[in-house]
Each structure stands twice: as C-alpha cells, then as structure tokens.
C-alpha cells in the first residue's frame, strides 16, 4: 500500500491536460489552489499506515487476499460497510472537507455487482474484465474518481434525444479493439487527484439510449481528456501568501469538469456497453452507497464545526450561556442524527448476487435526505454563535501590518487569556466552512452530491412497502377484519 508521500509522488507522473483560472497548469501537484485537495486525498493513504486506524483504513482484498486500502475494496459484510462509514467520519474530522475517494469506492462496488448481473443475463464478460482491472488497481493502490454526472443539457429530454448528442457521455465509435467515447462529466470530485476515472451512466436509460449506456475505466491523462478545475468560493485566497484567511490551510475539496473528446477505451476496460436496462441498476446501487457515505463524512466535518463554534463561544466569554449551550446541543444532535442514519443503513445492508454487500436502500436515502438539510442548519447555528465579525474581520495582511496590526490585535481580542490571533483563526475556520473555500464540501455537496433531494424523495417513496402500511391501517380501522388477539 502506498504511503501519503508515495501517492503524491505518483501524481507527478500523470500528464494531465488541466486548466485552472483560464490557464493550462503544468505542475498542478504544487499549485497552491490544487494542493490542499491533494492533501485531503493523501490523508486516505496516510490512515492506512497509521497505528490504531488500520482496522478502519485497510482490509483484505476478496480478490487476492492481500491487505489493501479500504477505498479500493469490495464490501464483504455489513460490518465492512460500518467500517467505511466510521473511516469517513475520521477523515471528515481530520480534513474538514471532502477527501474525494468515496465516489470511486462506491462506484467500484456498484459496477462489481451490476456487471455480474449483466453477464448473467447476456453471457457477456464484463464482470471478469472488471475483476481483472480491479486486481491491477488494488495491486498498485491507485486512486480512482467516480465520474457519473453528465452535463445533461435540457433536463426534460432523454440522452439520445438532446439537440446536441454529446450532452451525455456516449459511445461515438465501436472498434474491434475497443470503443471511443465522447461527452463531458460535470462536478467530478477529485478527478484531478486521481490516476483513473470510472465512467458510469447518470440516469435511467431507455430504448434508443444504447450508446449512452456505457461504463468503463480510463486514465485521467488519456488522450482526448481535458480537465477544467471548478472555481470555489475564496479560492484565490490560497494565492495570497497567508495561511489564516483561507481558514483551512492544509485541506480542501475539488471538483472539475471533464471533457472527453473522443477518448479510446480498450475492451478490457469496458464494463457495460449498450445494456440500457442495467443503467438504472448501476445508478441506484451507486447512489445507495454514496448516500450512505454522507452519513460518515458529513458528521465528521460537522464535528469540526461544532468544535470551532464551541471555541469561539469560549473566546467570546459566553460558552456557558444557556442559549449557546442549547445551540451547540442542537448541533450535536443534528450531526449524530445523520451519523445514526449512516450507521443504520450500513448495518441493515444485504448481499448482492455477485457477493459483495449493498447498503440498505431506503435508509441510505433517508440518510442523504437529512444531509440535504442539517448541514445548512448547522452552518446557520455556527454563524449565530460566531458573531458578525465572521464576515467583517480585517484581512490577514491587515493583521500583519506594522501599524494597523496593533489596532486589530488590541481591539479584536475576546477574553483576556486568549490571544486575538487565536480567536481570528477560529473565526476564519468557521468562515471557510460556512462561506469560504470548503463550504461547497459541507453545503452544496451535501445538497447535490449523490443526487439532489428530489432523487432521494423518489427512492424513499418507492422503497417503502405502502401496501403493507395500508393493510395495517385497514385492519385496525375495521375495514378489513380486525386482528383477533386471542387467535
């Protein structure tokens, strides 16, 4: 297994075609805007070697029996899924942002079980190919980005009926040695920090969408791939030379737009190609895993926000006030409710035909639905506790200025024993989480990652046994025969 250092070194060998703020970036590994996101991924490698965290961060491969990083594993039990969620909370706590490897992990598991079922129906050999590829991937301890979300164009129109046929990634050419794909994937987490990307369809496919029903793995520096780095709030603060105003100096999330301009994929890396009816199976299995994931990482990030809110209240001298305690109590309650849902859908998971484990679909969707709400309320409460200075504080450069720095140091002080800089630092951390560089990791991603709220809504409705609920009501109301207690 790679160490964090080895992982970062391996990135230098990638020849990405990457654009950021209108310019092609050659040494992206050391780019100040990109680097924090690499560090966040690196933490997933570090934990695998960290005494005390091996049980969470590593496991044995079901394919080779060797010890591997959990992020490249297949879930072999419900306990394994619980470990995933707890690992995610640990990483959320340590980075306070998105550490970007869960989409890959969840994608691997969804493709594993779906390819098995396609083969079973069609006699294809996607599953064997996938196993071969995954062995290679585990051996080399690589990092993969899951690439599901298409750009979608007109949301009301099917992939094959869009005005522009490229609004969903599709097979533009079938060759004897492989396929050529074309299109774009949007909002792709961590792709710039990954060795490969796992292309998956993003929604239900129907007759006519055969070319759009495609799953495959490609290197991030394959020919025809262009990556465009997404802007984040306050991103250029990382270029200013300071380390306070960015709020979270070491870590950050990352999303990019992937352009696939006729990218060749050899057959041994193709895991679905044209089996339209399996697209939705893949999407829903992935979604269940990924909605489970948010029951791990977001509580971890929330822990940091709670800690920061508690500190700023202390620094202001109001930590013991009843309303502050109440608000912090509410924050804990919300964070743990999310985590409880993450744990429950893991424990209540089940085995797929292919042999790996799947999170409980209903509870995973319930988990994510809460995630689309609670982090926003947590941020609101943190802003309440922090005070208005959160968005009106002078800059780090003012604070370091020889003349006015002294004014700031004098006047922004809270309680006597805490240096002004300490208070300033914690305010900037809260700022980063609620408004700044990592707020997409905690807010917008909580909303839209793994599917927007309405997507969960639909699944929750569908996964409930409403007939049974109605039967209960009819029996109790005496519409059906009432249950005889003595029978």
């Amino acid at each position: 297994m790679k160490t964090a250092k080895e992982y970062i070194e391996s990135l230098y060998r990638l020849k990405l075609n990457l654009y950021l703020l209108g310019e092609k970036v050659e040494n992206w590994v050391d780019n100040p805007i990109v680097r924090p996101s690499i560090n966040a991924v690196a933490m997933t490698y570090k934990l695998a070697h960290e005494p005390g965290n091996e049980a969470l961060a590593t496991t044995n491969s079901t394919l080779t029996g060797k010890e591997i990083n959990r992020f490249n594993s297949l879930f072999k039990s419900t306990d394994d899924m619980v470990s995933k969620v707890k690992l995610q909370r640990e990483l959320g706590q340590r980075t306070a942002c998105c550490f970007q490897r869960c989409v890959g992990l969840d994608g691997i598991n969804a493709v594993f079980s779906t390819s098995y079922e396609i083969d079973r129906k069609y006699g294809t050999e996607y599953h064997r190919r996938f196993i071969d590829w995954l062995k290679y991937f585990q051996e080399n301890d690589l990092c993969i980005a899951g690439a599901m979300t298409d750009v979608k164009g007109n949301r009301g129109v099917a992939p094959s009926r869009q005005d522009d046929p490229d609004m969903f990634v599709h097979v533009s050419e079938r060759r004897s040695d492989g396929i050529v794909i074309r299109g774009a994937k949007a909002n792709i987490t961590g792709v710039v920090n990954s060795h490969e990307m796992l292309i998956m369809p993003t929604l239900r496919m129907r007759e006519g969408d055969e070319d759009y029903s495609v799953t495959c793995a490609i290197p991030t520096d394959a020919e025809g791939v262009t990556l465009i780095y997404g802007r984040q709030p306050c991103d250029t603060r990382k270029l200013e030379g300071g380390e306070i105003d960015v709020g979270n100096y070491n870590f950050g999330g990352q999303e990019a737009l992937i352009i696939l301009d006729n990218v060749f994929v050899p057959w041994n890396r193709v895991f679905m190609c044209g089996e339209t009816e399996f697209a939705i199976m893949l999407v829903e299995r992935f979604a269940a895993y990924h909605r489970q994931s948010y029951g791990g990482c977001k509580p971890g990030i929330g822990d940091v926000l709670i800690g920061a809110a508690s500190l700023v209240a202390s620094y202001n001298g109001v930590r013991a006030a009843a309303h502050i305690r109440d608000k912090i109590g509410e924050m804990i309650h919300l964070v743990e409710t999310i985590h409880a849902c993450g744990l429950a859908c893991s424990y209540e998971g089940g085995k797929t035909m292919a042999g790996n484990y799947q999170a409980n679909t209903l509870l995973a969707n319930v988990c994510k639905q809460n995630v689309t709400r609670f982090p926003y309320e947590l941020c609101r409460l943190a802003e309440d506790i922090a005070g208005g200075i959160l968005v009106t504080a002078p800059s780090e450069k003012d604070f370091r200025h020889p003349v006015i720095g002294e004014y700031i140091d004098k006047y922004l002080k809270g309680i006597p024993d805490v240096p002004t800089e300490t208070r300033y630092r914690i305010l900037m951390l809260i700022h980063a989480m609620t408004k700044g560089q990592i707020s997409p990791s905690y807010q917008t991603e909580s909303m839209h990652g793994a599917g927007s709220p309405m997507a969960q809504r639909i699944m929750i409705e569908r996964e409930t046994d409403m007939d049974y609920k109605e039967k209960l009501a009819r029996s109790l109301a005496g519409i059906d025969v009432r249950e005889d207690v003595l029978a």
Copy 2:
C-alpha cells in the same frame, strides 16, 4: 410461555385496588375502557407463539437457558437489542398504540447491571436477589410495569427537602424482614395490566436522599397500593357501544397514578436501598434503553398513520397529486429517520460489567430527541391530507340512524368505488391517532416518555467528546500545530 389467552386469564386473579372515573372497578379486565390496553399487552404474548415472529419475540434466558418472552429477557448482545427494536416496530404496527411492556424490559436490564455494580462497591447482595427474582419472573412469564416517575412536587427542590416528604417514593420504615415504602408514581404505563411493578428512583440523588434511593419489585395488588386510571382523550367513546368513533377499537395505551401508602417489601425484592450515588446510574441506563425503545415502537405507529393517510388520499381521489405524494414521502422520511436512530444506538451498544448489553447512550438520546419532534409533524401532515372532515364528521350513531344515516352515506362518499363507511373508518383511525384515544401514545408519550426533551438535551451535551472536537478545530485552524499529511 403464556399465550395471549393465558395472560388475560391470569389478570382475573389479580385483586387490584383500581379506580376509574371516580369509581372502584372490580372486573377491570372486561371494562370497555381498560380492555383495549390489555389487548395491546396481550399482543406481546401472542407474538411469542406466532410462526415467523419467534425470532423477534422470544429468546433464551441467560439465567436458565430456557426459551422466554423477549420482554422478560436480559440483552445478551447488540443483535439482541436490534431484535428488541424490530419487535417494537412490529408491535407498533399491529396495535397503533403503546403496548406497555418496554418500561419493564428496560427497567429489568438497568437494575440488573446497576445492582451488580452496587454489590461490587458495597459487598451487598442486590444482584443475587435480583437474579433470583428475575428467574421466578421468567419462569412464570409475568408482566411487569416499570415505575420510575415520581410526582415530584416542586421541581426545583430535592426529594428530601420537599415540603411534603412523600413527593418522591421513599423508605418510610426499615424492618428486619424488609422495608416499607411510601409515595406515589405518576404516568405509569401499563401498570393496571401488570402482575408486578418495578419501583425505581426518577432522578439523581444526593446526600440526604438515602431513603429516596430505593429500587424494588412489588405485586400490583400488594396491600397499600391504589391505582387511579388516567383519563385519555375520547376515552368514554368506548362506552358508547359503537366501534368506529373510537378509531382503534381493539387497542389502546394506558397510564395510571400509583399510590403507595406504606407498602411492605421483603428484602429479597429490594435491589437498591440507600446507595444514593447509584440512583443516577440506574436512571441513565434505564433512560438509554427506553429512549432506544422509542426508535422501535413509534416508527411502527407511524407506519399505520402513513398507511391511513395514503388510504384517505386515495378515497378522496387525490392520492397521485404531487403535493400529496410529497407529504407522504416526508412522513416516510421522518418515520425512518427515527427508526434509523433506534437501530444505530442498538448496533452501537456495549457490554456492561454485569454482562448484559447497553444501548449507545449518545445515539439513544439523539433517537428520543427526534421522537419529541417528528410524530407531531407526522400528525400535522396526516391532518393536512385527511381534510377538515376529520374533526367535523357526524357520529357513528348518526351514521347508523335510519333517516339521517342515508344522508350521511350519500354525502360523505369519496370516489365511487369506496363505500362511505370505509372512508369514515379511516378518518376515525386518523382522528384517534392525532386527537383521540391513542394520541397520547403517539404524541405526548413521544414527548415525555423516557424523559422530557431537556433531559435528552443534557445527555447529548454530556455524552459528546467536546474536547476532541475542539482539538480538531484548533489543529485545522493552525492554533495547535497543523497535522502533517506526510508525517
């Protein structure tokens, strides 16, 4: 193990001193107001014999090895606690009300582990006594009410300092063969349907409160015990001879006020007596179990309400409307969030020194905190869906009236294929759950059972590792040394 029939027969042998609506009730088993609550308890006996539910409803005694009803068992694993929660959901679904045995079950487990630790400190023999008593109890498959809540008088004053020394149950006399206790227990669930009651202290005791730190088991018909049946909304509808207006004809909850007017308890039934510092341990362990319990039963009751809401929407011809689907989706989401919390605190439980298992305290409190909120919103949504007729419908007697009954039948009809009576029945079931006879089981009990919201708030605050959260924030903000990813 007793059957439901045997259980009910056993009740006839109890000589309760019971008052209801100002009169002493002799044959309370067949009293129309009481009987539905007996039926609800009887369901816990029925399930133990029901093919397909044995795994949930029965288990092997850790004391005797014999098969027993789960409600008299000690939790021997986290899986055992999960089974408890799933059994509770099943019973909630089948009765749509409180089935009253959980307080006893949770009390048994809390007394078991607490008495062990008292003995360990003081060399007393409470634990052995308790085991002997519990064996007898399991052998005879009896039903026990947990009796914790004191009447409390002035909430701001300690038990031993109240103007009236009887506002908390206490030892009024210590004799060589036992103790005499005095006081009252309020809001006691299911006591009228129980063979015994388990007296437990209700809050933290301090120096001076020795006489108030008492735990013991007494028969419900012991000398000196008076039971006063609590009123419930619409309780006398059960005396009207109909079966629709009550909403839930077969089942109902029950609470009573217990007066203990110098009741003698032999030593072999005394499990704590004067060890003030252990009172809070008992309270908190019981509370954690019981807050877990609500993650089982309330989702079950919620399932019935969802089913009823879905039916009434169908009967009105609006089931497919987007806003109806959205509201029912929200109802499912809330119910499953509670259940997820109930499952999570069970799976994440741990072993006590005495060897039985305890639910995770933090998550159990989080579970209950959600229970103090969501059922109210579920009822609000059900009222929204049901329509105003919910509280303006004519009576069953009007519906059966030869003249106006026809008017009602004609005019309260919804869609063509559903008889008016069917619609009327489902409306009355919803009425019973939101405003009527079983609304205390779903609303007020959700609020105050197992402790009022503020009690959970305090535990949530206390059970969180805030130091660790603050440490995370300090490190990320650079107040402490930042974590080196490469280290």
Copy 3:
C-alpha cells in the same frame, strides 16, 4: 343591536331540524354539548355593548348609517379591516376557541363585491337584492353562517360530472318565484347557532357547471334543511356534570353537516345563479378575507395557550429555567408572526369596484399558510412545558371522590402555594386546546379552514409578480443591460 342575552333568546325561536349523536335535538339551545358554542357566538354580541370595545366591535353601516355589529358590516377602509383582525384577537383571547361569525362576515363582503361585478357584466340585479337583504339583516342584527364547502365526492372530478349530481350544491329547479337547491355543505362553522346561512360555491366553475354556480341566503330552519352536528374530541365530557375535565367549560367551536333536500329560495335571496366565471372570483375574495381572519383569531387563542403554559411552568416550579423561557419566547414569536401577517394584509388591502375593501390577497394567503404550521408547533411546545400528566391525570370525578380525591390532592401538587386543583385546571385547559374539545378550533381548523395549505400555495405562486423578479435577476446578472447608477 342585540345583547348577548337577546341573541340567545332569539335562538329559541328557530325551529332547527338538528341531529346530534344519533338523536333529534329539540331544545338545542340548552344542550350541554351545543351551549358552549352558542356562548362563543354570544361573545360577539356582548362585545358590541362592552365599554371600551365598541370601537372594535361596532361600526356604522355604509347602507343605513346606523351603528351595527361589526360582524354584519361591509369593510369601508383598510382601517376597518385592521379593526376586524384586532376584534378577532380579542375574541380569541376571551373564548379560546372559534366564535364562528367570521365566515358570515367574510362571505357578506365577498358577495357584495362579486354581485356588483356580475350585474355590471350581465345587467342582472343581484347586487341590489343583496343590499336589500343585508339592510334587513343589519337591522335585525342577525347571525349568518357562511356555507361554502361542498362535500365534493371525487376530488378529481368537476361538479357537473360527478357520478352523483348532488356532491355539490346546485339548482335542481328554476321556478318563476325562485329556485330550488339541493346538495350538502360540510364542516360548516356555527350554522346551528345562526339565523341564516349564506350558500356560496366552493371552487372554480366551468362550462357545464351553471347549476352549481349559485349564491343565496336561506334561513337555517327552512324547509328541507337538516343539520347534523359534528363530533368533537372529548365532546361528551360536557355531559359528565363536571366543569374541569372539559378544559374550557364556557366556550367551544362548532361545525355541522348541512343537508339541503330541495330547499326553495325566493329570487330576492339569490345573488348568483349560473354565472360560472364569477364563482372563482367569489371563492377567492372570500378566501382572502377568511385567510386574513385567521391572523386575528388564532393569535388570540394562542395567547391563552401561552398564558396557560406559563402558568403550568410556574406551578411546577420551573418557570425561570432557561429552556422554559426559550420555549415560551418561541411561542410568543410564532403567535405574533401570524398576527403581523394578519395586520399586514389588512393594512395593505384595496378598494373593490363595488366600494368595499378587500384584504391584500398575497399577504392574506401568506398569513394563512403560516397558520397551517405554527399552531401545531405551539401545541407541541405547550405539551413539552406541561409534562406528561397532561394526558394521564385522573378524572374530575376521581378528584372529587371522598377517598382517592385526597390522594390526588396530595400527590398532584406542584409548588407549595398553589392548590392542586389550580394546577389540574390549567392542565385541563391545555389538554382541551391540544387534544380535547377545542383542539379542532386551534389545529384542524387552522389547517383546513379557509382552504387547505395547497390552496394557499397556489395563490401565493399566482399572486407574485415573477416576471418582475426575473427581470431584477437578469439585470443584476448582466443578462439584460445592467442598471447604470449614474443614469
């Protein structure tokens, strides 16, 4: 103007065909179940004579110039509408329930302006007839129930296309001297306490629905009218002889089902007949008035609930606890938010073509939308503060029992200086408002009165100038030309 006494005496002269709990009621004025609802209406007469409240409760008729009860008036200014809302709050405070006259008042104003516009288009003489009728009504200071809600049958089908043509009230025969109407009106507030009822259509009518587009006034004891009294939670407590368990002994709401079995209406009492396109105008104008009304009465009822919650907290000795103060603070906040909306839509109203004033439609709908949410939360908070004893307290008969009454008196005592009965009384008042006899007045009516939540939703969406909002956004985003500050 009638006094309360004269109003009640006038009721004895009505020959209602009224059914209650399956029996025809002859002396309904003194019926214990009905009487509290009469008292509530009587308060609207009492206030007109009460020193200090005349300005709220009376006004001068725009038709005759004489002083009349405000409940029979036409709004002649926005201030008049503000006075209405303040009068409603006063009455809500004094009765803690629905006082039943607002539907009539709001109906009168809506019919006044709509009949004017029909005449203007069609040259009919509805408006003049209506003025004549209203003069008579004001002269005699009568009470009228607005009767809008039809029973509706299959909600997805238009009135004229229902399987049963009577699911909406309609003209079954047109005669030279008048019309005959047929059908039923459901959930009609206060009709049993009214001298007349104002029949209005309940929804948008379309071509083919001509017979269903009918507005007219008929006496409540007209031939062919049958009234069936709606059940309320805990209604029969009023028959038990006590005065505590009912919670609100003096006052209560009332709804009934009205059967119109071929009722003749002379032309001079017909105010719309066949003008389909005006049905929705009438409905929406009425709805705006009535949604405004809830910004008056419900805050008044809320005031009582807040006062009761404050008292019970005092009696328990916890009034000063931070969390109690916070919850009561929240209750006040919610009540005042509703009232603010009620005031705002009144102040922002405008003049109709006919000359009376109309509440601001958008804000009136916003007001009502909040009413469908906040009273439920207020009840939840009140239950939180009250404690579980709210639904487990023994009955009044137990409390009066010579033996066990003493136990109850001793054990249900709170702080020393407050008698147990005092605490018990306030608990029962809260019970009546949250679960008991007047809970429909505060909860279900808040939900469905003046239209269910979705009805407001639709109006809110429609009444907003979305084009303007989009224009603002386009300009600021630079899609349209940006505004030049210096231009």
Copy 4:
C-alpha cells in the same frame, strides 16, 4: 438633494485614513473592491430623483419643511415608516445587497427621541444640538453611518470593568470645547462611504459606565479615525478583470472596523454624555427601527434570489416540475412573511414624546427574529434548485479561453434557446448571494445586524403582556371567576 453623481463626487473630498488588504488606500472611490458598495449607496440618492419613486425616496423635513432624501428624515407618521420599509424593498431589489444607509436613518430617529427625554430629565441641551446638526445634515444631503457595535472584549464583563478600558468607546477626556473619545466600533456598515458617523452606545450601561454612555457625530475623516475594510467572501474576484464571477458586478455591501484613537468632538456634536440610564433607551429604540428595516431590505434581496432561482430552473428545463414550483412557492412565502412583519411593525408604531414615530417594538423584534432564520432557508432552497454546478463551474477566464471556452460553451448549455453564458451568469448571481461577495448582506447580516437572535428573544419575552395572557388562561380554566357571557 444630491444626485448619485454628486454623492460620488463628494466622496472624493473625504480624506479617509483607510486600510484594505494590508495597504493604505488613497483613491478608494475608484477601488474595485470598494466601488460596488459606493454604487449601492448611490442608489439611495438616485431614487430620490427617479420619476415614480419620489414618494418613497423623498419626504419633507419636519425641521425645515424642505424636500429631503428619506434617509435623512424623521418619521412623522406610521405611514412614513411604511414608506421606509417599501423603499428598502425597492432598494434591496435593485441592488441585491445592503445599501448601507438604514443604520444612519434609524440612528437619527433614535437619537432624536432619546435626546429629547434626556433633556427633559436633566435640563441638558442635547436635543437642540441634535436638531441643529440634523438641519445641517439635511441641507447638505450627507450620508451618515450609524456606529453602534463595540468590539466588546469579554462579553461577560461590563464596559467599565474590562481589562482593557478601550473595549467600548468612551470619553477619554472632557474639555471645555468638547470631548475626546477612544475605542473602536466593529462591523460598521457603509462607514467608508459616509461623510459622518453617529457614535452610539451598544448596550445597557450601569453605574460606573458614565464615560461609556456617549452619543455624538463625527466626520469619517476626523483626526484619529482609522478605518479598516472588512474582508468579504470572494472579495478579490473584483480585482480579476471579469464581470461574471463576482456575481453582482455593480453592487455590494461593506463593513469596516473603526479605530477611534483619541478623536475630538466639539460639544455641539455631543448628544449624550454620561446619562447611563438612557443608553439602553437609545439602544432599544434604534434596535426596534433597525429590526423593522430588515422587513424591507431582506425581502427585496429575496425577490432577486427568487427570480434567479426561477430563471435557473427554466434554463435547466425543469421550471414546471411540481417540486420546483413548490420550492419557489415556499421561497415566496418566506419572503412575504418577513415583509408582512416589517409592514405590521410600521403600521402599528406610535409617537414618541419628541414627536417622531417609533416602530412597534414587539413586532419589530418578531420581524428580525424571522430574518435570522428565513434567508438561510431561502439560500438552501436556491442551492437546491440551482444544482451542484453552482460551486463547480469553471471560471470566467476559462469561459473566455480560446480553446477550452468552446468546450464550456458547448457542455454547460441547458435548454436549447438559452445561451450558456446566460445560464452561467445567473448561476454566478446565485453564488454571490449564497456563498460569495454579497452573502454577508443576505445571511450573516440577517443574523447579527440589529442584534443577534438572542437579543430579539429577550425583547420579545419582555414586550409581551404575560400577566394578561395568564389572566385569560386562569379565567377560562375557572381558576379565577369565569367570564359571564350574559353579564
């Protein structure tokens, strides 16, 4: 009255000692970070000359009778306060941010009435001085920043007992010709764009705090004044040369830290000096005005967010989806609820002893309490509707790039007829409001401006007549004598 142009020109004449991002700024009027905030203020001057808006934006001076800009006026009626709120909504709609003049307006009115009452008690001449100063101010149509919030140090300690005596602004020297003040004011809105600042105390003063009880007016470029510009999220995007990524190119809010290092104030500009008991009167009157203000501006900003959300839904092709309509409906509902509160507290205001009008304190606090909640939910809903691309879109420079710009143009397109740039622009506007440059104007300022939520909570509790509410409950419960309807 000044035009927008004349206002901006007048700013060049100010010699501010201003720091921004660690550097002294000489030409701050043309500084790209500062300029949008100047434009927002300039809109308040523009509207005064705008045909159709004069009635809102101007009024006649009660001091001179001349037409003046409303922002420098005294409220002479409740209608005047309503006009203020409507003007604020208009300005919020036109700028989508804080236009910074309300603190001054509200401060002027609070000082006017408070100085009157001080003089009345002490025979001082603050009020006359204030009138003189205000006449000068109105004549010259100047702009004033209200400067209330002190830096506060340890929140648990009174001003005169802080370790550092400068944590609250105070009189450091009393001279025959005036006073010298010292300290700092934090989070001061618009001070850099103002000609003067109105220094006011920030909380209740007690014995010993005499030096801290000071109100006065000073020029923003007075000797001893240093201004330090507060950072805002994404502030440096304004330096990048583009105009899309900033979201709101023309307008923005502004806050600064004011250092007062021994600033001399002549007596004719001192309006309170040592009258400790009047500090809280001033604070509370100001607060009531300013909490009212938020019922105007924030709905205006909300209108823009609603418009933007509606547009982005259209551009994505999902505008007609039921859940989108429902979310936009909820947004409208929340915005109008706030505005209704703003209107209600204006209409329900009353006259002060000095003759100007004061907003209703209870309702103004209720208004602001809602403002601390709803804009956050509005932003959450807008993020839900906008989609994840909100925080992952490439930069404007990428979009303008000759090579990858084409990719972006192709792939980020929504429905066919809308150019990609249009969609991108609206996304960036939403981004600016929810996460970017103007998010402090809509979120954090909504939370903490005019006092944090707990401050409103305290006022709401205090302004309610709880005795009356308790009396109502006691009467209805029969604890006090029940009201006799016939009496």
